[in-house]
Amino acid sequence: MKKKEPLIKNPSFQSILTSLLCIILGLLIGYIVLLLINPSGAGEAIKTILLNFLSRSSHAARMKALGNTLAKTAPLLMCALSICFCYKVGLFNIGAPGQYEAGACIGLYAAIAWHCNWAICLLLAAVAGAVVGAISGALKAYRNVNEVISGIMLNWIMLYLTNMVLSGKNVKEVASPYTIKVSGKSLIPSAGLNNLFANNRTVTIAIPLAIIFAILIWMILTKTKFGYELRATGFNKEAAKYAGMKEKQNIIVTLAIGGALAGIGAACLYLTGYQQWSTTQTSVPTMGFNGIAATFLGGLHPIGTIFASFFIQSITDGGALIDKSVYPSQISDLISSIIIYLCGFVLFFKFAINNWISKKDKGGPNVNDVPVTDAPAKSEGGEK
């Protein structure tokens, strides 16, 4: 019965194709910008961005750099999963940075002040993120406050709250604005992974953990009753209500889960000892926002976000390696932002491809598949 469809019509293939298109276009525009600033070093610079760790001279240095990129991929992936999960339920979790901050706040506090075991710190970070997510969710469900608005505001509230909490005298270094280094059992263990990456201590089990989360999220969304309910609520809230689902509760649970994922993301960075929290920072960490780009570049698919997160983190790190004597120091951020920005065009490209396909087989045999009743209804001006 089933006809063999041409590859171009396969949705998964389309997702991969459009993501690659976005990347190529982003690189192209980045290259043009580099050319405009200083034509002589452009080729070299774009190569550096793409190669990232591969541009290092020795094997050991390469593995160490790769380890660093992977260590930062894990939190990015968790943020992307947070946004991806909520997006599948029809919610745009732009509050991920705020939930990430909450995770960092409680996770770090538990690690530094209470010397908790890393697993407990991770759990507390998840709970903190979940609480912040649930606030947005409850506002949306019961007061119809758009989750984007409440999310953005919570991002700032959580930033300064975190700065305040982590400025406590047991947590912050006396002479610097940074938090005291996490040590001992509060550090996420490497379990030997560090040996693979030239003894890079920041390579921990957080990385496989994040990948396991991606697979888990994918399974929950597509294979379980819970995912069926959540996606139905996301697609059509009214139909979910009609079918007896508790659509309000589902919204809160979704944002709470999204918050937990972002909270774990923060723990995956700060509990590896890769970075300390600066209590004087005045901007929301970009990790949560980059998660949005990773989600879209990953074709809104949990598994796709694994690769997208790695790519985005890689070009960000690669950007930092550009020759600063040729280009101003902001160039690395600029180029990686251009590429990340273009990643947002995935849906646009998908639309364009489908348009092109339907134009190609216009008047094809499948006229019956087209919702005939719907097209003219739109022409009426619909519901005025």
Binding site: M1, K2, K223, T224, K225, F226, Y228, E229, R231, A232, F235, N236, E238, A239, A240, K241, Y242, A243, G244, M245, N355, S358, K359, K362, G363, N366, V367, N368, D369, V370, P371, V372, T373, D374, A375, P376, A377, S379, E380, E383, K384
Partner: protein, 532 residues
């Protein structure tokens, strides 16, 4: 002999991505005739009118006025050509008076001040000439739908339009108002206006139109003189095959009471009054009870209250002997199936495949979900395939077809399959034939009667007069949130039904007990007013 054409649309072709909405269609409107445009939903009527109004540009074909080719690039051009339209959903400003609405956009001013006197005189003259009774100073929100429609007609006449288009004008009217409208249309024709009458109701076309042009699936089928054809001929042209016009059924054999509604009251979301007031009735097994009424008389809110989508303000619902007045939707759905009014808003998750929509009411049951909470995919697939076969639901790719890509008729069939197959004692079917073509309507009616004959109780909520007269065993008429009449479809007439629907007659009264409560409430409010 024949009058010249007022407006012609010749060989119009309009394409949308993936669909040809109008395929080489010719429509010629003579001066001083009533010309009906007949076709099912999705036949391309609205698209054709949008082309005439300049909302869409046709890829091929020309528009001619008085034999000369004209270009219509936007609605202003259409207005300049003297074309006016009464839309299905009126375009009136609710808080303006009738007169203000009529002059809106063409008002005369002197030094920035509105000059109403001249306009008032003209409106008065027009309304007398054509028998269009309106109160020029009444606000739109206070007047009946019929009067709102007359305001729309006056709006066209005030602008001296010669070509008048009525887009499904009778959908919102009572039978009496429909008769009045037909009379008005005849008056307009007598005064030399040319009328294009868009409809899919054969009776109305037979009674008022001179000629009729039939469209089917975007194609031009033909233009015929109404006097040369029968209703059956027209329906065959419209659907493309013979259609059984009368519903065949045995007399009902009602059994035990399944649903009992007592003094049910539901709040309205639109205004502070209750939308459903003190409704009481019973539905027995093996009978179809229909709640008839004009759109917006509380039927939607009643269904929300019954199915649990809105809380009750007051009253009691008993289903199979159990009080369900405050139960959740899920709990009620164990004995109650619900074919919702709006299949896109409530009935389907359009982005889910068909198989997932087939289990929308049952996905949590052990048949489809394992104890660990995983969906049983093979069982779901098999279930969907069985329903598709049994209920003849057609789709491009079977169970994995995205619901959005299915035709309206098949979407509705899928919902009916789901709701009928699910365990239930009561089937609530809300406008189950809305937006379906004649052939599909026939199938839905057969399903409802089969349900009844299986011993289920069926509660049908309908706005379609033909459906109300043919399908149910008992009719309840709802007017302004109350049940005002109970009728036997075999003994009543459309005219009598219309009087009840318009609130002019009633034979069901709230019992003395509740009347007293109302009285005491009235006294309460009076007292409160005095205090203030």
């Amino acid at each position: 002999m024949d009058a010249p054409y007022a407006i012609e649309m010749v060989n119009i072709t309009k394409r949308f991505p993936g669909i040809i909405a109008n395929d080489n269609i010719t429509l010629q409107l003579r001066k001083g005739e009533i010309h009906a445009l007949l076709g099912e939903n999705g036949a391309g009527k609205s698209t054709l009118m949008s082309v005439l109004f300049g909302l869409y540009q046709a890829e091929e074909g020309v528009i001619k006025k008085d034999g000369k080719e004209v270009k219509v690039n936007n609605p202003n051009d259409a207005n300049d050509l003297g074309i006016g339209m009464v839309h299905q959903h009126f375009k009136l400003v609710q808080c303006f008076t009738v007169l203000e609405n009529i002059i809106l956009g063409v008002e005369e001013t002197k030094g920035g001040v509105l000059q109403m006197d001249e306009a008032r005189a003209k409106v008065k003259a027009l309304s007398e000439k054509y028998g269009l009774q309106v109160d020029p100073d009444a606000k739109i929100e206070d007047i009946t739908v019929g009067m709102q429609q007359r305001t729309e007609i006056l709006k066209m006449l005030f602008r001296d339009n010669e070509i008048l288009i009525f887009d499904e004008p009778t959908a919102v009217l009572t039978p009496q108002e429909i008769d009045e409208l037909m009379e008005i249309m005849r008056n307009l024709r007598a005064e030399g206006k040319s009328i294009l009458f868009i409809s899919h109701k054969l009776n109305e076309i037979m009674s008022v139109a001179d000629r009729v042009t039939v469209l089917r699936r975007g194609k031009y089928i033909g233009t015929v003189d109404v006097k040369d054809v029968t209703k059956e001929d027209l329906s065959r042209m419209m659907v493309g095959r013979d259609v059984q016009m009368v519903v065949d059924k045995e007399p009902a054999k009602p059994g035990d009471v399944i649903l009992k509604v007592e003094n049910m009251t539901v709040a309205s979301k639109m205004h502070s009054n209750n939308a459903v007031k003190n409704v009481s009735f019973e539905v027995h097994e093996g009978e179809i009870v229909c709640i008839a009424g004009i759109d917006g008389n509380g039927q939607t809110e009643f269904v929300y209250g019954l199915t649990g989508m809105e809380p009750l303000v007051d009253g009691k619902i008993t289903l199979c002997g159990e009080d369900i007045s405050h139960d959740s939707i899920r709990k009620r759905s164990r004995e109650m199936s619900h074919i919702p009014e709006d299949r896109h808003k409530h009935g389907l998750v359009l982005d889910y495949p068909l198989e997932y929509n087939m289990i929308l009411q049952r996905y949590y049951q052990s048949e489809f979900t394992s104890k660990a909470g995983f969906l049983k995919r093979p069982e779901i697939r098999a279930y969907s395939e069985r329903l598709e076969k049994e209920f003849d639901v057609r789709s491009g790719q079977g169970p994995i077809t995205i619901a959005r890509a299915m035709s309206g008729g098949n979407q509705q069939k899928a919902i009916i399959a789901r709701e009928v197959d699910k365990e239930h004692k009561l089937l609530v079917a809300v406008q189950p034939t809305r937006g379906l073509d004649v052939g599909a309507i026939e199938g839905v009616h057969r399903q409802l009667i089969a349900e009844r004959d299986r011993g289920r109780a069926v509660l049908l909520i309908s706005l379609e007069l033909e459906e109300v007269m043919n399908v149910p065993d008992r009719i309840l008429v709802m007017y302004e949130g109350e049940i005002v009449g109970e009728l036997d479809p075999k003994k009543t007439t459309v005219e009598e039904l219309g009087l009840y629907m318009a609130g002019a007659k009633r034979n069901v009264f709230i019992d003395a007990n509740t009347a007293e409560i109302e009285e005491s409430e009235a006294i309460d409010t009076a007292a409160r007013k005095e205090e203030a």
